[in-house]
Subunit: 169 residues, 6 copies
Amino acid sequence: MMGIDEHKKHAPKKISMAVLSVSSTRHLKNDKSGLWIKDQAEREGHTVVLHRVIGDDQVGISKAVFEAVQNPECQAILITGGTGITCSDVTIEAVRPLFSKELTGFSALFTMLSYNEIGSAAILSRAVAGLISNTPVFCMPGSFNACQTACKSIIFPEIGHIVKHALDR
Amino acid sequence: MMGIDEHKKHAPKKISMAVLSVSSTRHLKNDKSGLWIKDQAEREGHTVVLHRVIGDDQVGISKAVFEAVQNPECQAILITGGTGITCSDVTIEAVRPLFSKELTGFSALFTMLSYNEIGSAAILSRAVAGLISNTPVFCMPGSFNACQTACKSIIFPEIGHIVKHALDR
Amino acid sequence: MMGIDEHKKHAPKKISMAVLSVSSTRHLKNDKSGLWIKDQAEREGHTVVLHRVIGDDQVGISKAVFEAVQNPECQAILITGGTGITCSDVTIEAVRPLFSKELTGFSALFTMLSYNEIGSAAILSRAVAGLISNTPVFCMPGSFNACQTACKSIIFPEIGHIVKHALDR
Amino acid sequence: MMGIDEHKKHAPKKISMAVLSVSSTRHLKNDKSGLWIKDQAEREGHTVVLHRVIGDDQVGISKAVFEAVQNPECQAILITGGTGITCSDVTIEAVRPLFSKELTGFSALFTMLSYNEIGSAAILSRAVAGLISNTPVFCMPGSFNACQTACKSIIFPEIGHIVKHALDR
Amino acid sequence: MMGIDEHKKHAPKKISMAVLSVSSTRHLKNDKSGLWIKDQAEREGHTVVLHRVIGDDQVGISKAVFEAVQNPECQAILITGGTGITCSDVTIEAVRPLFSKELTGFSALFTMLSYNEIGSAAILSRAVAGLISNTPVFCMPGSFNACQTACKSIIFPEIGHIVKHALDR
Amino acid sequence: MMGIDEHKKHAPKKISMAVLSVSSTRHLKNDKSGLWIKDQAEREGHTVVLHRVIGDDQVGISKAVFEAVQNPECQAILITGGTGITCSDVTIEAVRPLFSKELTGFSALFTMLSYNEIGSAAILSRAVAGLISNTPVFCMPGSFNACQTACKSIIFPEIGHIVKHALDR
């Protein structure tokens, strides 16, 4: 029988992933950013095995991430929303402390690409990525444009390599 | 009666702010970088309600920042100086641990813009920004050029949005 | 008699440094990246007083770094390898917690320069720099190209200033 | 409609709680310590609304704790097992970082009471308690005697007050 | 001219101290615990140079502590109140992160002595002590009995030694 | 061939250990506390394979600890000195951040036993214990009496069990 890691290691190019939208107003049907990520992922040959909307609640976000990490079908987790600086934005506060390793370059690269698109407003967004127990997890803003930047320019081109490396000894 | 947050939330475009210069040699009259920030802020329609010079002392810096955070007139705090890597540079060590949320993009963006101006010497400077109890706080180097880069290209164009977001529920 | 710091402060332009390669397969003779750093450093007028290969072991890496920090001949430490995201990559986990001050710009700048060279694959690499007891320490990936980027574009042009600043009061 | 906190605040004397046993060998039927906690809690008038056995897995433990925190029926969480110092003991490593406030006295008091019973072997056990999002969580060793000490002498006599205080404004 | 540390080092037996009461309901005249600490301190030959009541506000508490640390007349700081586990109890959260060294024994000893007096209810109280920039700072509960335990049995008998040690090279 | 852990696991009752004295004035011949620990350990059947005096220097202490951790002959490390609260006391600051697991009960138990011997002066001493890469490390004060308390009452009676547990899977 294959353990979780063995299961995940298969299929380095075509990844099966979870899409979690953090929002207290959206739901699955009108989750524009989450649905776009799902569609785009499938267009690139990946599979979205889980699509959920989670409220702006720190414990709820952490729990949803842990569930996806433990799900043997989820080789990677993409989270959108809750990364701003208002009081209710707690995605980064919920997820970052759980990283065993942080992909330090993701945050800087996302800021740089955002700056090229929207100028100095880029500093209003926050984005982080890292590993939780060998599963790569990405947190990106909830805005449609930010998701496009993060997914098209960074995450989808590299997701296969990242999943593979994260499971290597 | 309006609480501190209510007071601060008004005036999203024209901000009233504190300018703190960290230096053991400068004083208010010859604080070139601090005075430039003050003048430039006012030229852009903002108000500087507080301009102080603070010595290179970790406790003194923290205390001055807390005082400004508690001042209902201060919607944002701009700190210049003490961000290098010599022994007496302790601004970042004093301020960063107080952030409830860090604007992670500010540091990366400042480094990138500095690199475009001065090349690899950009890594000798450090810059961070974040929220302390809903008040945005920016730490930038003491050099005149670094202040121009940080203020003109990043802080002044976004300070209104940042103040507004930081107070949103 | 000069203390360690006094000794290190001399020679601001020509630096004497340690090169540590983290790898469980390489040895001194075939350590391509380490040997290139050594040669390039000497070509630029610096001296490499120590060249070692250390296994992928967190305690072993920390100990080797402390030994170099305590060596009065080592004004700076360049570490290559062990910065990826596989299970055995622990260089950053071993070294970063030891920093008294982090050169926060190094990580962002390295990511940006890597992005210009290899595109989004830049986020698979990690790089950090900081001070341990007044000695600058740089962690960069083990790949030959990443070492060239980090050393030629960032570290070697600035190493003299960084060593000098790190020892200034 | 009552929110989670409102629900939990009722019944300050009779508490409804979760009992989580961390073990890779036990199961619900032979979970001696967990079953004793359950029986003793009920004998004292409390209710055990959840009794689970969780493997020695850091992510799995965190997830189970978050699930119980989010369960409106769980006013408190008692965890037994996985608190020693062997490689597979990760309960404290999984739970402690999640505390918003730690009950610092619980650890010291448990050590003192254990010392009175088993002498210096008390330092082989670890015990911590704290709040996760207003829910008190206690981690105690898996041994039957340690559970008796922690529950009879500390937790059960105070659980009502602790639940009430944790929900007070 | 004596610096702050020189000033503080004099008078190892008779200490001049600040008493800060954290409370959103008390004021100086009815601050029973604060007034008792003040009277008892003076009865033991010490001087209370500052007595303030501060609201349950994390920034306000930190600021008041920094002010007292910078006051050359304050050789030590005694804080009472805000150490429980309700939402508004934030004294320990405000003060502990500022310690450069923690007196780890104070917390354990206070718990033990409290246990001898009030039994298991001792775990509802929290108490910590440490140094902020060479000034000893003690946080104890706001209840009258807890202050008596902390001051009579631990703080007053040792305050002279602690102040002296904290200033020793 | 046995790895380090295999080597250390043998001899659960008779332990081979390192004794490190942190002091800027003592040397091996007049290191009263260190020599007593060595003699007492041997009297109880253990072996001291390493006895060193290290100056009050944070990097030097960390390096010495890492060397002992990597030494396959050292099944445990006992450190005496540098645990007070003067500026030069940095043993705990050097060692505690290196723990992968802390034996949280050691600090509380040492304080309690010290209190029974010297009363409230117990809070002037600090003591911590934990694991660094499977090797138990104990930090205790430099005073002769404190070493007797820590070693006779806590460390020597349990050192065999602790070494065994720390290596268990």
